[in-house]
Symmetry: C2
Subunit: 736 residues, 2 copies
């Protein structure tokens, strides 16, 4: 514990008379990271903007509590979730908060608190070596990984910038040199491997160092942050904007890390814009920063991020990163759709940008965010596949199908080329496990990624895509996972919505192509999903196609051989060792259906894959420390095939209402589901219970301009592009 | 399909001029079941009462849709959840709705629709024999069990009563005789075993028959309904009020069936009150009907009923039964606390009573419902144990501990004497499986109770109470399960809240006593729970104490022997065959702790049971049809003991915040937990991490007037009643 000291007799101009933002000079100390004048001394004037007022109240409560608790700058000791870890996190939050509160309220106590804490860091920091709990990743000084140190710096420098002109020169000098310059040096020249990477850890380091450069009026630090340690532009913030985002603003590591990475991108961009407007940073690369904000929001369902790659499924738009991103995005674009996101978040930030959001919301300017179907291309040039998002509507309960046809996404990427997930009725139905990790829970390996993240969560079998010979794509080696899918076709609107993508190189000699079609049907509450996965291999192999789902199994159309007294595991390695087998079965052509219920809606998964064996089971085997969630799966298995086609149909239907004790539509509306190949066209026929039928024809040739013809019920039918859809009326005289 | 016919030229007085309620005579046809004049012709006048207006809109939409669909009175065929089952359910709802709508709006189309439907029933009903899908239980005619027929009658007669005076005499006669008198006859003299039971099925039958008696002006039917077929009073509605409720208004089958049973009790009581006010039915037996309404509400957490016995966990106060009960209760008592329940329900009923609720709510008269700790005694005389409810506060997230020390509760009762459950932080934490059933889902045995309800859900091991030699209490035979617990002590307020109960006779030669203490501790967000279960047996036995919980296991203090590659089952029968064993372990005296997380809060379950073996596992073995939910359990096992004490402590602690990525208090605040016996006092000592301690002393003698003394840290401490609590400050100079 460092005793609090109080500095008396420092006279300050009233906050309301602070100079407006001006060009920085080496001598002045006024805030440079934001247009602080916009919020200075606002105080009670925020009352007309409830979102801002609420934020002010919340921050006051939090910082006042931190002030009451006294300054606590402990010697670093614990890993993530431990006491010193959490205290240093609380400190940077309190520092940031005290800075904002000082600007807004003009209350000198906040500046004093920030100074006292920073003086304590000035005593502690210079003596620190590598963190004692450092693990595999780059060691920090305050935290077990340097990433957290960078985050400390991003928050800390913002708080410091806001109070710096309230400090006497000797304190300012002490803090400048002993805290911020040392941290910036450690995180830049002292950590070249991290700083010059093309990776989100580097983005945080770049942002922290660059903002420190602005505040210390040190252009050298700024230039290193923007262009890498050698200032060549081969690394640094601008290069990351070039390489980490696709032309559609999709971030290479996927939505979960896009959220995380977004904060340093938007905050540093705003700081660059404030200090070097001539860089036109928000227009850089066709406005990729603003695209990234919108793409983040599009990559959610009910506000929760699609949990691809190493992702925690409980992450939503209600996070600090997105409060910042929405505020900065709105201040730059005045797009009223961003306001409805802020409304849903119920939060904003205590910055000039947050004030703009709160003002505009209070003025009733919000418009609905245009959630829509779209293809988010991956790769710096947009050529590395992408994420295909098919939305049945913009509502929070409308069905969304997401096909993951992206590149690897580096070390946090999963081996899941041509994976897909489905949301329906407000819930995740076809699921992605995400990461095996209990974030910040110390008893679970200090909150770090668990061994099961490698042995299970990243493996191909943990996803809804093809597994060859019980191995993972690319042998589960991400450094060799360079081959990417080709997105062959995408259609986001109308009666024929779908995605076709192809993957070669994930398994030696194997090419597979997947068509996913979202099929709106009259009278159905939600679309059906057709899934055609064709494999071409160079030799006979075991092909598995898992489907991980959420819900309680209700019924199967085929007989099951059940393991009810001892439960075996499915395999030995590559994730298979984590799968318990509950039952297996071999469906006949007309009974390959499994039905489950989730939140009062039924889902029937129907397969027309000839010769398939079905495996039903659950994750959680070989898990002595209870690190895994236990979630059900269905697996289609084909043995000894070289070329094969997995043909599946998922149908949401019916409703069980617990309060009213009523059930409707618990039976599938589908009577039959068949597949045949005619020339280079796959013909999938859904026979309805009323004896009508829907035929979906999928051509090998995916050129949207090419026409195809097929004879159905004796009549030639034509369509353009790869997918055709035809309704066959029910024959005369037939009924259910 | 019966063609709709329209009756023309029937002149009716305008609804607003209908005569007010008058004594019935054999000739008149005006409504008798409610004071229909209160709502007659209200129409647009309901606009100031939004709850009623919303109900009107909802009912109109539903009945208009039914009218548009046309009358469909199918020949009975399907079991629960099937098409004919659901159609007959829809019909009685539509009939009831049409009746209410006719009264409120005066729109003759509703009366015509009710008449047409009833005429269709008049054609169908007389020809019906026992239902073709009848199972074990008493067969109905319209439905697979006669219970549903009774429910049809309860709704149908109310709808008919409301339109009867709008019908021409010949139609009225046809419907009187061919539908209602036949149904009433079938359900009374035609089904004597059901009608004269003391059981909720009989209550529905009594209510339907009795109300039919009032409507048909047939006092004989009324008298049979009130006093049984022989009118002796040994059966019938009044006898059920005597025997099925305790003096505290607790219903013998438990909260779930209390909800279900409540509807015929309150509706028939209201009808009796309207027709025979001299019976003072709402004052009967110290106002037991009104007590039953309040007790139902007290038996909930967050609006959901405690899921004891055969219960579906998704049942809340948002059900038709409780809309009726709250409206009838409010109309009778004008207790403003009932209004807040109606507010939470967001619903009411289209009756004069519902109108009163809506009016009072619109006038802002609602007050919070006084959720509180209480002992709900069981048994007609209150001597058969009871349910001890310990609430940490009235809020929806406040901790609630419920000890189930009741009698069997007949055929839907579980073998779970001295079971307990815990809610905390808005969630069920220590759980009761409830029933093994998928209500109204046809693919699951027609929606009936599943075989696993007998083999698992009712068995003792499926509950959180003592199991002797892997068998269930009373050999799982409910007819011989006559012995009841003794509630020895209950304290619902202050620093010492708890329940002590004793059970003898559930196992031959075994008596066991359980003390559960809810321990509020300064600084803890939620109380800790102390659990002392002492067993005295006549011979060495295997004693098991399961704890079924909700959450993800985080850590154990002791080493585990895990079954990670094949998973065995725990036993062969009595529910044990449904338990998978994940791991076993033998804790040392200082490390017997298991920690899990649920919804961001940690729970540490600490045992101080000497010589105990711990079993960790999950339900779901021997379940080839996936009928069971898979839920985790911890089991304490003692082998070869005669007398034993299971000593456990459950501590909620900490918080994981996913949005803010912060974790606090993930470590238990408890450093040690010990138990010793001094004379006739059990001494449980909780040592805190800060070196202070809390001692709870539990005396054998449970007389609340008796004083006890114990020497603690060299100082004599005294207390009165069985439970004493003493805080030991931390010794000088010690810290964490």
């Amino acid at each position: 514990m460092i005793a609090r000291t109080f500095l008396l007799g420092v006279a300050l101009a009233a906050m309301t008379t602070l100079p407006a933002h001006a060009a920085p000079s080496a001598d002045d100390a006024h805030p440079v990271l934001t247009n602080a004048a916009a919020i200075s001394g606002l105080g009670a004037q925020t009352e007309g903007y409830p979102l801002f007022t609420a934020e002010l109240t919340r921050m006051r409560k939090s910082v006042d509590a931190a002030m009451k608790a006294g300054i606590d700058v402990p010697v670093p000791k614990d890993p993530g979730g431990g006491a010193t870890h959490e205290q240093h996190k609380r400190n940077y939050m309190a520092l940031y908060g005290a800075g904002m509160l000082y600007r807004i309220t003009g209350d000198k106590r906040y500046a004093d608190f920030a100074r006292d804490m920073l003086l304590a860091y000035a005593k502690l920091y210079p003596g620190l070596g590598p963190h004692p709990a450092a693990a595999n990743e780059a060691a920090g000084r305050l935290f077990w990984q340097s990433l957290n140190d960078s985050v400390w710096l991003v928050y800390g420098i913002q708080g410091y910038d806001a109070v710096r002109d309230a400090l006497p020169p000797q304190d300012r000098k002490m803090i400048d040199e002993q805290v911020f310059r040392r941290m910036a040096t450690f995180l830049s020249t002292g950590s070249p491997k991290v700083f010059d990477r093309i990776h989100n850890h580097a983005t945080w380091a770049n942002a922290g160092v660059g903002m420190t450069g602005y505040v210390l009026r040190d252009q050298d630090l700024v230039d290193k942050a923007l262009k890498g340690l050698d200032k060549s532009g081969k690394a640094g913030f601008l290069r990351q904007l070039d390489l980490l985002f696709s032309p559609d603003g999709y971030y290479a590591e996927g939505p979960y890390y896009q959220r995380y990475a977004l904060q340093p991108f938007v905050i540093f961009a705003a700081a660059i814009d404030a200090n070097e407007p001539q860089r036109r940073i928000f227009e850089y690369r066709d406005a990729v920063v603003l695209k990234a904000i919108r793409t983040s929001i599009q990559s959610t369902y009910g506000g929760y991020f699609f949990p691809f790659n190493d992702a925690m499924p409980d992450k939503s738009l209600k996070t600090e990163e997105l409060y910042q991103a929405v505020a900065i995005g709105y201040a730059k674009t005045h797009d009223p759709a961003l306001l409805s996101i802020a409304q849903w978040q119920g939060r904003t930030v205590l910055t000039p940008q947050g004030l703009e959001v709160a003002r505009a919301l209070a003025a009733g300017k919000a418009k609905p965010f245009p959630f829509t179907s779209l293809l988010l291309r991956d790769g710096p040039d947009g050529n590395d596949g992408g994420i295909a998002v098919l939305r049945d509507g913009p509502g929070t309960k409308d069905q969304v199908l997401v096909a993951k046809n992206t590149a690897q996404g580096m070390g946090h990427g999963h081996f899941d080329r041509l994976n897909w997930i489905l949301y329906d009725n407000g819930r995740a139905i076809v699921t992605d496990y995400g990461a095996a990790r209990f974030l910040n829970i110390e008893a679970k390996d200090g909150g770090r990624y668990l061994p099961e993240n490698e042995s299970w969560a990243k493996q191909t079998v943990a996803h809804n895509t093809l597994v060859v010979d019980e191995t993972s794509q690319f042998g589960a080696n991400w450094k060799s996972a360079t081959a990417t899918p080709h997105q062959l076709w995408f259609s986001g609107d109308g009666q024929i919505r779908g995605s076709i993508a192809e993957m070669a190189g994930a398994y030696p000699g194997v090419t597979f192509r997947r068509a996913l079609v979202q099929l709106s049907v009259k009278g159905a509450k939600s679309p059906l999903v057709l899934d055609l996965l064709r494999v071409n291999g160079s030799k006979a192999a075991r092909y598995d196609l898992p489907l991980h789902y959420a819900g309680h199994l209700i019924d199967t159309g085929f007989a099951l051989k059940s393991n009810v007294t001892t439960r075996p595991v499915l395999g030995q390695a590559n994730g298979y060792q984590h799968l318990w087998v509950d039952a297996t079965g071999t469906p006949a052509p007309d009974n390959g259906v499994v039905t489950w219920i989730e939140d009062g809606r039924f889902y029937s998964y129907r397969v027309a894959t000839p010769g398939v064996t079905m495996v039903l089971g659950e994750s959680g085997a070989n898990d002595p420390r209870f690190n895994l969630r236990r979630e059900p799966f269905i697996l289609q298995r084909l043995d000894g095939a070289r070329d094969a086609a997995f043909v599946s149909l998922l149908e949401p239907h019916g409703r069980y209402d617990a309060a009213a004790e009523t059930t409707t539509g618990s039976e599938s509306a589908v009577r039959s589901f068949t597949h045949r190949r005619e020339g280079d066209v796959d013909v999938l026929t859904i026979g309805w219970r009323n004896a009508a039928a829907t035929v979906v024809a999928i051509a090998e040739d995916t050129d949207p301009a090419h026409a195809h013809t097929l004879v159905l019920n004796g009549k030639a039918q034509s369509w353009k592009g790869p997918v055709g859809r035809f309704e066959m009326p029910k024959p005369e005289g037939k009924s259910r």
